[in-house]
C-alpha cells in the first residue's frame, strides 16, 4: 500500500516536471489514425453498495435484531489489483476508442458479531466473523477516450462499458470466539473456499474516468483512474444460500445483494503499431507550433 502511494507520487512528479517544459514549448502533435497497443496494471478499491441484505440468521423473539447485519470495510481497505493489455485506435488527434483485456480482482470484506448470554452461569460468548471475498474476472472494457489537448502531456477523459467473466470467487472467514469464563479470544483463519456458484458468471457495468498521458518518442505512458459501477449485481440469487461448498452453514455467511462501486488506478505503457504513410510510427513526428 505504501509502495503504491510512493509510485503514484513519483509518477505525478514526473508529469508535473515534463508538463511545465511541454507547455513552454507549446507544441502540438498529429496522432490521428494510430493504433496503439500496450500493457496496463494497477490497483483498485471496492465499495459494495447493498441493495438487499441477506443473513443466515433469522431474528426470532429470543434474538436481538441487528446482529445479522453486516459491517462493511471502508473502500480504501478493500484493495484488489488488475492488469492486462489494451488496444487503442486514435480516430483523430483527440478522439480514440479502445478495448482492454484485464484480469481484475475485486476484494471486499465485512464482519458480523454475535453474542450469547448464559443467564444461569452468568457468562457470555461472542463470535466475531470477518468474511473476505475476492472475485476474479476476465474483464473486457470498451472505452471512448477524449484527449483534452494534443501536447506532449495530454490530460484525457474516458468512458465506456465493461463485461466481466467470472474466473473464480474465493471466500475466506476469520473467526474469533471469546468467552469470559473459559476460552481466551482465539482467532481462527479458515482456509479460502471456492465459492464460484454464489456469484454471477457474467458481470456488466459502466466505467468512466480521467488521466494523463505522456508521449515520449515511441512510447505513450499514462496514469489514470476509472470508476466502475456494476449494473448487474455480482451476487446471484440462484445459489446464494446453497452453494457447493456449503459456505452458508459452514461459516454462517451469505452474501448481500450488492452492486460494486470500484475505483481503479492504473499505469499503462503503449506503443503505436502499424505504419502511417509508410514511415516509422512515432508520436509527435509531425507537429507544428502555435
Amino acid at each position: 500500500m505504501k509502495q503504491t502511494r510512493v509510485l503514484i507520487l513519483l509518477f505525478f512528479a514526473l508529469f508535473l516536471a515534463e508538463g511545465t517544459q511541454s507547455f513552454a514549448q507549446k507544441k502540438r502533435f498529429d496522432r490521428s489514425k494510430q493504433l496503439i497497443v500496450g500493457i496496463k496494471g494497477g490497483v483498485n478499491f471496492t465499495h459494495p453498495m447493498v441493495l438487499q441484505s441477506h443473513s443466515v440468521f433469522s431474528p426470532t423473539g429470543n434474538s436481538a435484531n441487528g446482529s445479522e447485519n453486516k459491517t462493511y470495510e471502508p473502500i480504501m481497505k478493500n484493495m484488489g489489483f488488475q492488469g492486462g493489455l489494451f488496444l487503442l485506435y486514435r480516430f483523430t488527434n483527440q478522439i480514440s476508442a479502445g478495448i482492454e483485456g484485464l484480469f481484475f480482482q475485486y476484494r471486499y470484506a465485512y464482519s458480523n458479531t454475535y453474542t450469547w448470554a448464559d443467564t444461569q452461569e452468568g457468562t457470555s460468548f461472542t463470535l466475531e466473523q470477518k468474511h473476505i471475498n475476492r472475485l476474479h474476472y476476465f474483464e473486457i472494457p470498451a472505452l471512448v477516450r477524449y484527449d483534452i489537448n494534443i501536447r506532449k502531456i495530454t490530460p484525457f477523459v474516458q468512458g465506456g462499458v465493461y463485461t466481466g467473466f467470472l474466473q473464480s470467487g474465493i471466500s475466506q472467514t476469520r473467526s474469533t470466539q471469546s468467552s469470559g469464563q473459559v476460552f481466551p479470544a482465539s482467532p481462527t483463519q479458515n482456509p479460502p473456499t471456492q465459492t464460484n456458484d454464489r456469484f454471477a458468471k457474467v458481470s456488466f457495468g459502466v466505467l468512466g474516468g480521467a488521466g494523463v498521458s505522456y508521449f515520449a518518442g515511441k512510447v505513450m505512458l499514462s496514469l489514470g483512474g476509472n470508476v466502475r459501477y456494476s449494473i448487474l449485481p455480482p451476487t446471484g440469487n440462484l445459489h446464494r444460500y446453497n452453494d457447493q461448498a456449503s459456505t452458508s452453514s459452514a461459516y454462517l455467511d451469505v452474501p448481500d445483494n450488492i452492486r460494486l462501486l470500484n475505483l481503479e488506478l492504473y499505469i499503462s505503457v503503449g506503443v503505436p503499431i502499424g505504419l502511417k504513410g509508410g514511415s516509422q510510427p512515432k508520436f509527435g513526428t509531425n507537429y507544428c507550433t502555435f
Partner: protein, 399 residues
C-alpha cells in the same frame, strides 16, 4: 469506415455478452430462491433439537422442536424462511412426540402431561403457533411415537409402566381409543423410557406407521428394542425382529409403492440401509439378520429419515442421516436401488443434525435440522432447495 464498424461491433458484442450471459445466473421465472436459515436464541443455556416439519398452506413451514430436552417449541417461518412466530409451550405439556401430525388439513402434536405422564394431543395454529388441547388419553402413559392414519385417527405408541408393556393404540382426535395392542417387554424398561425422554440416556428411534394396511411399530419388546408388524385386533404380531437387547434395531421404515419398504437399522453403532424389504409374515428373527448396505460415514447410531423425493417426474427414495464429521447427508436412490446422488448439508465448525426432510408443493425440498452455532448452541435450522437446485443435485438439465 471499416475500423469504425469493427469498433461498433466489438461494443455490441460486449453489451450482448453482459445481458445474455447473465440469464443463466438467474432463477427461472416464478421460482423462489432456496435458502438456509438459523433461528437463533441468544440465551446460551437453551438447547434446541428439531424434530419435524410440515409445509404450511402459505408455502412457509411449521417446525417442531424440543427445548432443553423436554420442553416443546413450535416455530413458523414464511416462504422465504424468515421467522414469523414461535411458541414455547407451558410446563404442563412436555416431551413432544417427534411427529408433527397433519390431519384433515390441520396440524397437531402429541405430548406428555408432566405430572400425570399421560398422552395429550394439541392442535397447532399454523400462523401463530398457538396450541389448544383437543384430547387427553389418561390410560396411555409415557407416549413415545405417533403417526397419522386415515381420517382423524392416529397410531400411538406408549409404555405401560405397571404391566411392563409397549402399547400400540389407534386413537382419534375426539379422545377415543379404538383399540390397544399390547406388546410385552417382560422387564421393567421405565428407566430407559425416562432417560430417553429427558435426554440423559439413549434416544431410541421409536416409531409407528402403516405398511400395506398393517401396522408397524418400533418399540421395546421381549427384553429388546424390536421391529414388529401387526394387525389390528390381535396382540399376536405378523412378524417380529428383535434387536440385540437395546444395542440394535431398526431406525426408520418407509413403505414403497412396490409394496416393500425401505428400512434403516443400527447395530452396535453401525448403520445399514435396506432399500427394499418385503413385508414379512410369520417371521421371528433378529434385526441384525435383516441385511442392508453398510453406511460407513454415518455417525454411531445415527438418526435416519426416509421419504419420497420426486424430481423431473422420477421418484427417488431419499434417505438422510448424520455423518461422523458433523454434516447431514441426503442420498437419492432410484427405483432399482442405485444411488444417483448425495448432497451434504452443513459443514465446518457448525455441526448440523437431521430433523426431517419433506418435499414441497413447488417441487422443492425442505430439510430441517439442528445447527450447533459455533459448535456450542444447538438451534433450529432450515434449508430450502428449489426445483432447479434439486435438478442440479441429480445432474439433470432444468429446462
Amino acid at each position: 469506415m471499416m475500423k469504425n464498424n469493427i469498433q461498433i461491433t466489438l461494443i455490441l458484442l460486449l453489451l450482448s455478452g453482459g445481458f445474455f450471459g447473465c440469464k443463466k445466473d438467474q432463477l427461472p421465472k416464478g421460482m423462489d430462491p432456496g435458502y438456509f436459515k438459523v433461528y437463533d436464541d441468544q440465551a446460551a443455556n437453551n438447547r434446541y433439537k428439531t424434530l419435524d416439519l410440515q409445509e404450511t398452506a402459505d408455502g412457509g413451514a411449521l417446525l417442531l422442536a424440543s427445548l432443553n430436552d423436554t420442553r416443546i417449541y413450535l416455530l413458523k417461518v414464511d416462504k422465504q424462511g424468515e421467522y414469523m412466530a414461535s411458541q414455547e409451550l407451558g410446563n404442563v405439556h412436555r416431551n413432544a412426540l417427534p411427529t408433527l401430525l397433519q390431519l384433515n388439513g390441520r396440524f397437531y402434536i402429541g405430548c406428555m402431561d408432566e405430572i400425570g405422564l399421560f398422552t395429550q394431543i394439541l392442535s397447532v395454529d399454523e400462523s401463530t403457533c398457538q396450541t389448544n388441547m383437543v384430547a387427553e388419553f389418561t390410560d396411555l402413559l409415557y407416549p413415545l411415537a405417533i403417526s397419522p392414519i386415515e381420517g382423524d385417527n392416529a397410531l400411538l405408541l406408549s409404555y405401560d409402566r405397571i404391566g411392563y408393556k409397549s402399547q400400540l393404540s389407534k386413537i382419534s382426535l375426539s379422545g377415543s381409543v379404538e383399540w390397544t395392542l399390547e406388546i410385552p417387554v417382560n422387564q421393567d424398561a421405565e428407566a430407559l423410557v425416562v432417560q430417553h425422554l429427558n435426554g440423559s440416556g439413549t434416544r431410541f428411534p421409536f416409531y409407528t406407521g402403516l405398511w400395506n394396511g398393517k401396522y408397524v411399530v418400533n418399540c421395546f419388546s421381549n427384553y429388546s428394542f424390536s421391529f414388529l408388524v401387526m394387525k389390528g385386533g390381535t396382540n399376536l404380531p405378523d412378524a417380529i425382529f428383535n434387536g440385540s437387547q437395546y444395542a440394535s434395531g431398526t431406525s426408520a421404515c418407509f413403505p414403497l409403492s412396490s409394496g416393500s419398504a425401505a428400512i434403516t437399522r443400527f447395530s452396535f453403532g453401525k448403520s445399514y440401509l435396506i432399500p427394499s424389504f418385503d413385508q414379512p409374515f410369520g417371521v421371528v428373527d433378529l434385526t441384525d439378520n435383516m441385511g442392508g448396505i453398510f453406511i460407513e460415514e454415518a455417525e454411531p447410531n445415527s438418526e435416519f429419515k426416509l421419504g419420497n423425493i420426486t424430481v423431473d417426474e422420477i421418484n427417488y427414495l431419499g434417505f438422510a442421516y448424520n455423518t461422523q464429521n458433523g454434516r447431514v447427508a441426503l442420498g437419492f436412490l432410484d427405483g432399482s436401488g442405485q444411488l444417483k446422488a448425495r448432497k451434504y448439508f452443513g459443514a465446518g465448525t457448525n455441526p448440523f443434525k437431521i430433523g426431517q426432510f419433506r418435499q414441497t408443493k413447488d417441487k422443492g425440498l425442505l430439510v430441517a435440522g439442528t445447527l450447533s452455532v459455533a459448535g456450542a448452541f444447538p438451534r433450529p435450522a432450515l434449508f430450502k432447495l428449489n426445483e432447479k437446485e434439486l435438478f442440479e443435485i441429480l445432474d439433470l438439465k432444468y429446462e
